[in-house]
Symmetry: D2
Subunit: 454 residues, 4 copies
């Protein structure tokens, strides 16, 4: 590591000068990032670790794109596992098999970048910086497969650091600091928030709630948040819930809590799952504060339905599960304005619901799981698909992705555990009788009656 | 894992019943702890993970000692690495060497207990419970070497969770909550605190400070804390600093901050080092709030001196580095009351200081590091041994461990980095000219003059 | 106000220099306090008011006793009402009677010291300083009747500043800052707290609560606090409640909340009443958090009983309401150790209870109110005297003031309003049938039967 | 007070029922408000005071306008001073003159509404409700002179409750809760804030600050706030300060803090002055955190200039202080678009500045104070008029009220006290030499030379 610039720098890097360096930083020469990494790893991390970590992270943030990518590639290679060490550890294990030598092998096979990441996390703001670095890495992963192991190490460390035990649930309301609310506006991924007044309508009325998970190291950054409407019944469309002129009810009158939007905020934390913990904690908190609540359900998008149906129709397969009549009716979808014509829309309702029932209950991805990603999420959490609603989201986006369909998933506290087991262990798709019946009516007459004839 | 009791339990374990289970728990049968562990690992950790983790941790806390040890042994063995998986991973690596297969090998060699520990950390209070479990494990490690890899995994995870980036420095003063102050009294390890009035004398006067590191998950538990006296000069004895009737000075008058006690509070976190970060952060904070401070130094114990000197004298080696006269003078130590007789004490001063200089600068442990553990700590942090003080701690404990000696380590902000490098990289013991001179005078005449004749 | 020292001072008193003055203050010459007062009143209070107020308050705190008394006397006289202004206002009112001229008269008659006090309150810490000044004033009032109007003005202003709307109720527990707990120990006026461990026994167990009122301007000073025991029945003695070795119950098991100590902390706020608001708020809070609570009662001292009984016996009046037999039994009190002899104590029980019933229900102060000050407090709040307990407080203090008697006052939420009205409007002493029956049995046979013969 | 409805109500008004009453309140019959007031005053305020106060305040808020006015009139009359009591007190004073009887007279002349207001303040939210009531009262005062004494009593009580000692200064920034920021938008009175993005530009950049005073009882309500720009020089126009596309500087680079907007938020607190305390506290805080700041100045409107100049011109008086030439030039103002024509605007600059200098320095209201209300405010605080800027506010409002002029008032910490004294005691208008010179040039030649000839 004979880098005289670096050595000079480091020798002048007492804690005393850190403050200055921190502020009037100039972007370091690209090569330095890797050199900093070497230095950070070689030290004991004790005297200059914090300052050095900060220097590297600041340098990364200020570096041009090619230098940043070069650093990511160095994580994959230079800071990857040393095969020689692994060979030695294998040899030692062969000589004296046992848990101790296995552990030594485990340690020998750990890529040094993991320790580098832990040391980078020493810096003030280190966690946030690492989350942003990984977000950037995700953008390269398709073209640079060598980055995949690096990505896995990020997920491994983040899963440990963002363990549910370290997360804090906080209500988000109209008294929440503006810098956090601004992020809620920006991060909302399901039903776009159109500015501050729109946000206010989702937070301030007596029948609205919002909750987010925070991590002590990212105090201003909601990791994931859920928006809740308190209602008197399970809703079958989104527009009335968000209408600017609707009349709020008192929270005590509500019987139903509707989770109508769940948004992950940090792309850099993709793969670290918070959503299941969030919903359960929110259900518990709501039940405690509002004992009148009896039903906990979502009003959820059906993200893959339109694309799936298009592919079925392209191959003419829809007849198999809809029968000729309903399949023919689907042609109505080809009229771009079908949803605005009351009659046409009414005619589409049944065929769409039937197709959707098939989509949910029968269509699978290669792993054998349901094709709908939102369904996978809620079923894994122990919810059940309670109802499919036609004409439920007539926004452009809602029509494009799901021909206006939305779904209610029900969180029945007494069934959550059994539902989860049935889905996780046996792969069963838990749905209400009403949904299953749609499927039955969807099947062509012949197949539909088959069971009876058996 | 066909355990019908467990299965029954788990099926009734919805979130709904968790509250009840949490409260009216009865101690589970020993075997259950391991069964719970299997279950916790086998699940996806999503639906019942939090509740199951809590059940296991509560069960452990309530179990009898033999059941607890059995669970620890299961961590070592049952939840240890599976050799078959490792063999497969080695084979795969041989077939297709590269970072990807090395990472797969790393993962195959990871003992499942690591994941188990991460899932236990899901429970509310999980981190604290795991710290206590490891504290218990440390008590068995001498007699059960199989627990050593388990211990290493604890250290590995704790180092990640208690990363300095997650720690929060808080001043401790007389407005601190009583439950935390109570722990300060209990955990103080250097100069015992004799009740609340004694504590108050260390916190309330204008020339006293105390700081502790906290972790967000252990809110009421100081992890490590340092007590500071603000003075006009570097002190050479502990009693005047702690005297009940001393006259405080105004903080603005102080030129020197004396770190006179540093205590680690959590035995379960042994091996996870916070001390160096603590001192540096406190130095920074004090400099900001009190610009008049120029000197940052410790008044530290010399824990191994008396034992080391006894062993030297037992072998008659002290003559080699003290010369006959001074060595003979040490016989005065055999009078148990030597320190109470002013004349005798004065006669011991020089021989003791000389012996101590040799102890610090020359005596080494097998690894080649200085024998004094406190010296190792401060030198690694970049401090320098500034002064050795005779008759500095005349408490019974102080006489027993160090014949009344104490040391000042100086944190010179401009030298910290260089000192650290010299110690860490080259193994040099950084000491002031004054201390080194003691060593010179300690050498017998013949050797002492040698350099001059060269 | 030709005071050159003062003028010089004031002209140098920019906000810039305030900090220095505040710190390195030397005690001002006595006369200055009054001169400062003049200056503070003469200004518009706008530019230098805050600094001047602080100077006066600091000066008062540092001044010798005679200078302080001189300042208090100046409040009475120099800063008293100006008769000439009042005469003019009366004349103006005579000329043009009406609300406007009445208000002008009201203002003319307001002593300037009220405005002076308001301006002193501008200083940081001003409120606390004024409370301490009034505390001092109370010590002089018996010998200096001229201070009485000053005292009334303090009460008038404090009642406005410490209006219940500005008070904040806070639970006091083992996580409360030590500096506040220290004051709880010091201020406890009913059952002395013997150090931190004793305090802890009153705060930490699951069946103990403590609440205090705070004012935003006196953040570290509890104004009044109440200690509560959660029990399964209304207690008839204090020792078991405070026993070091008692077994706590779970809060959820409790049916009864016992207010066993209410202490006013600030003598300077005497006459500004918080106690009634405190008890009601605590009852509301406890009911909300512990729905199992059904009974809210006190275990209270009977402060004046022994003195009153002695005076009755000195005049031989006790025979009138006890009858000869019971009155004779009271002679047992003359044995100083009566309470330690089980038999003797048992013999005293009935006569004491009967005498106490008479003391509560019949003995009055000149204004016609009950003689017992604690009874007046609780009855005015709407409580009822529920039970008198013999041998309830056998501490030396308890025997001296009440021959060991204690009383339970019951706060029955459905009766509070009616009880208060009956007491406040009609002067009725609300007591349970049990207490009233004691009175009946206390009356000599002749009078007791009289009603029947009517 | 034989009001059976009221009595019934009160007897059912235990604390138990308060919650219900509080919630499902129906608007009370008008007369009740006064009856409630009688009841609230007649009681001891102890048992039912809080509930009764709340009932009255809720009733007032729900009552129709005529009922509310009737209650205000009752405050003036029914709850006014009782002349008989005053007569008795006068008689008593005549008989025994002295401070005690003067105080009794003072108390007799206090209108009972003051006590009523204090008792209303017992209710949760009472302070805020009373502020709103007074705001309403201000709207009637011009037509109902009988309300004037009521208004004075409000001011008297508010001055006591909102004493500077009870106020808390808080920075307002982009992390402030949204509900408070929303009020900043609404209450800004000087330069309108056009929505959240505009607000953000005033709070988030490194060279912007905002501070507000809060009262513990009105936690979400800023009482007064000031917006500050950190700059490198004293600005001479408002538009560049507020430009959306300006480039912020680092706070450490700033030498000047510009108070460019001060807004009182609560009309109900008119007459209770906070502004002077606010500016001084903000200056102190800024100096501490940014030692590079040397100059503290405002950029202020000149609210009455255009109206005053119009009146001067209407009477042809402007020639007296401007001379013929400049006076003639003012005719340019009659062109409504003069400010948009660069040449015309330039020609107006000098005459306008000269006229303004006369307006500030010579024009007086009947009391002898300067005619400009903003000047009165800052001069009373010890500032000096530093500069008058032409073409400084070209917004429609700025042109209408001041022909585009704005003023800088300078807060020179070393002169504040002397300036205040000179203004408050001697009525001197403190202005810079530059401003005074404008005046000189404004005077017609004859008078201008007069001093020299004397």
């Amino acid at each position: 590591m004979a880098n005289s610039f670096l050595n000079e720098l480091l020798h002048s890097l007492s804690d005393r000068s850190r403050g200055l360096l921190g502020r009037s930083r100039s972007a370091p020469v690209p090569g330095d990032l890797v050199a900093f990494g070497d230095q950070l790893l070689s030290g004991q991390g004790e005297a200059s670790g914090v300052a050095l970590a900060r220097l590297l992270l600041d340098g990364y943030a200020a570096a041009p794109p090619n230098a940043r990518l070069a650093f990511l590639m160095a994580l994959a290679e230079r800071f990857g596992t040393d095969p020689d060490k692994v060979e030695s550890a294998i040899a030692a294990y062969r000589q004296l098999p046992g848990q101790a030598s296995l552990q030594a092998l485990h340690q020998a096979a750990e890529p040094p970048r993991q320790e580098l990441m832990r040391r980078l996390n020493l810096a003030p703001g280190g966690t946030a910086a690492l989350v942003r670095i990984r977000e950037e890495l995700l953008g390269h992963i398709a073209t640079e497969p060598a980055l995949r192991p690096v990505n896995e190490d990020f997920v491994h460390l983040f899963a440990s650091w963002f363990n549910r035990g370290f997360l804090v649930l906080r209500p988000i309301d109209w008294t929440t600091p503006a810098n956090i609310l601004e992020r809620i506006i920006r991060y909302e991924a399901v039903h776009r928030i159109r500015g501050w007044e729109d946000l206010r309508r989702r937070l301030e009325p007596a029948d609205r709630r919002c909750f987010a998970f925070f991590h002590p190291q990212l105090v201003d950054e909601p990791l994931i948040f859920v928006e809740v409407a308190l209602t008197r019944e399970m809703p079958d469309a989104i527009a009335p819930l968000l209408a600017a002129d609707r009349a709020p009810i008192r929270a005590e009158e509500a019987t139903t809590a509707v989770f109508y939007s769940i948004s992950n905020s940090q792309r850099g934390l993709a793969g670290v799952s918070f959503g299941n913990f969030l919903i359960k904690q929110v259900v518990e908190d709501l039940r405690r504060s509002l004992p009148g609540l009896e039903t906990f359900a979502t009003l959820s998008p059906v993200p893959g339905f339109a694309a799936w149906l298009a592919s079925q129709r392209a191959e003419g397969k829809e007849r198999e599960f809809l029968g000729e009549v309903a399949a023919a009716a689907l042609a109505g979808l080809d009229d771009p304005d079908w949803s605005e014509d009351k009659e046409k829309a009414e005619a589409m309702r049944r065929p769409l619901l039937s197709a959707a029932a098939y989509y949910f209950l029968k269509a699978k991805i290669p792993s054998g799981q349901p094709i709908d990603s939102v369904a996978r999420f809620h079923l894994r959490n122990g919810a059940r698909l309670e109802r499919i609603n036609a004409m439920a989201d007539l926004s452009r986006h809602g029509l494009e992705q799901a021909h206006g369909l939305m779904a209610n998933y029900l969180y029945d506290l007494d069934q959550i555990e059994a539902n989860h087991e049935a889905f996780a262990a046996e792969g069963r798709f838990i749905a209400s009788a009403g949904v299953r019946k749609l499927l039955l009516t969807a099947l062509p007459a012949r197949r539909r009656h088959a069971p009876h004839s058996a």
